[in-house]
């Protein structure tokens, strides 16, 4: 099996690792453990409160938005985990990217993400946010979301069932409790790297130079 792969010109493990370091998002979970012993009590309590009150921005960016009504309503009832909708970016905690992003939407999504208040989390939904999925050859959709925005949790599938959506949210809750989620600060620190990537594909760039909203 491994011999066969090498003969058809697939990059070796080392090459992939090297490419991944160059490619990979600057903001990833650091693997902290936030329990009562290692963290300040106040952070532990804050994180506990945050994880049980996730306000999701009502922005259906792609086709995955069709499973959101099902997740939020009576059978799956996501509200029992504290997940509910929010109308505006400034009141929201979670940005749910429901599927592929066209370049035109990506511009709006970046703007929305930057308007959200810390702590803010991003859940990417569907195969197309991970590696382009079935839109791998489309001229208008991005192929890997974490080049342009820091992502906390990916939910695979096309489209993910409500069960997997809820599983994704529970994973996010775990990360929040451990203090590993929320990359708003990291995004600001690495703004240059993200801006370079974003400007590469957004042709009519008219954002303000300063990141001050």
């Amino acid at each position: 099996m491994s011999n066969k792969i090498n003969t058809i010109g697939i990059p070796s493990e080392e090459e992939i690792k090297k490419a991944q370091i160059d490619f990979s998002p600057r903001c990833t979970a650091a693997g902290r453990v936030n329990d009562k012993e290692t963290q300040k009590m106040v952070e532990y309590i804050l994180n506990f409160a945050r994880k049980h009150s996730l306000f999701v921005l009502a922005y259906g960016t792609g086709c995955g938005a069709i499973e959101i009504p099902a997740t939020m309503t009576s059978r799956y009832d996501a509200e029992r985990f504290g997940i509910r909708g929010a109308a505006t970016p400034r009141q929201a905690d979670v940005l749910l990217i429901t599927g592929y992003l066209s370049t035109k939407t990506l511009k709006r999504v970046i703007r929305v993400y930057e308007q959200m208040q810390d702590p803010k989390y991003v859940i990417a939904f569907g195969s197309c946010t991970i590696n382009g999925g079935m839109y791998f050859d489309s001229y208008n959709t991005i192929k890997a979301l974490d080049r342009y925005l820091p992502v906390d949790v990916y939910i695979a599938g096309c489209m993910p069932r409500p069960e997997s959506v809820i599983k994704g949210f529970i994973k996010l809750q775990e990360l929040i409790q451990n203090g590993n989620a929320g990359n708003g600060e990291c995004y600001r620190d690495n703004l240059d790297w993200y801006r370079t990537n974003q400007q590469k594909i957004i042709k009519n760039w008219d954002f303000p130079d300063e990141y001050n909203w």
């Binding site: 099996m1 491994s2 792969i5 697939i10 990059p11 992939i16 490419a19 991944q20 490619f23 370049t103 035109k104 511009k107 991970i130 590696n131 382009g132 791998f136 050859d137 489309s138 001229y139 208008n140 959709t141 991005i142 192929k143 890997a144 080049r147 990537n197 590469k200 594909i201 957004i202 042709k203 009519n204």
Partner: protein
């Protein structure tokens, strides 16, 4: 049939019956708007169902298709016309049907066909697009996507990477998934 006979008499074009509900007509580009007006006013084809465009790059033509429908006789007419691909220009028909405006905007953006007299913003679906109109056959969408967008390393092609993931993470392939292996 009445309609076929009339079209032959007025415009000297041959219509042929495609199936029970559809009649197909091919006409020169100059005649299109008068045929459509004639169909709408004289024969009750008041509903513009669809407009389409096909790129025949080998013959260097764009084929435009107008599909109109008659609510009384339940018949559909498909009107085909061909325009030069190197200097694509077509008469604007949004004075006959308002919704043709939307189709024409789309063709202008996606195929680069000009409609003189079309009042609308040039940007419709794309934003900041500088390449050739993307729906043309000679626009290579895969090449453009590979050059423009970053793909995830190790996932450039459709190769089955489950073995690699297993090696890296120590996960097991469940039995039900094994039979879908590509090897």
């Amino acid at each position: 049939m009445d309609l076929i006979h009339n079209l032959k008499e007025v415009f000297e074009i041959d219509a042929k019956i495609k199936n029970d509900f559809q009649i197909e007509v091919e006409a020169k580009k100059e005649l299109v708007s008068s045929i459509l007006l004639y169909l709408k006013n004289q024969h009750g084809f008041i509903h513009l169902d669809h407009m389409s465009c096909v790129d025949w790059i080998e013959d260097e033509v764009f084929e435009l298709v107008y599909i109109v429908w008659n609510p009384n006789t339940k018949k559909t007419v498909l009107l085909h016309t061909k325009i030069d691909r190197n200097k694509p220009e077509m008469e604007n028909i949004d004075t006959i049907w308002d919704q043709a405006n939307t189709y024409e905007r789309e063709f202008r953006e996606m195929y680069g066909i000009e409609f003189p007299g079309l009042v609308a913003e040039r940007e419709f679906i794309l934003e900041g697009w500088t390449e050739m109109p993307p729906m043309r056959r000679d626009f290579d969408t895969k090449k453009y996507a590979e050059e423009t967008y970053a793909t995830r390393p190790g996932r450039e092609n459709a190769e089955d990477v489950r073995e690699k993931i297993i090696k890296r993470t120590g996960e097991e392939i469940p039995d039900f998934a094994k039979k879908y292996s590509r090897d």
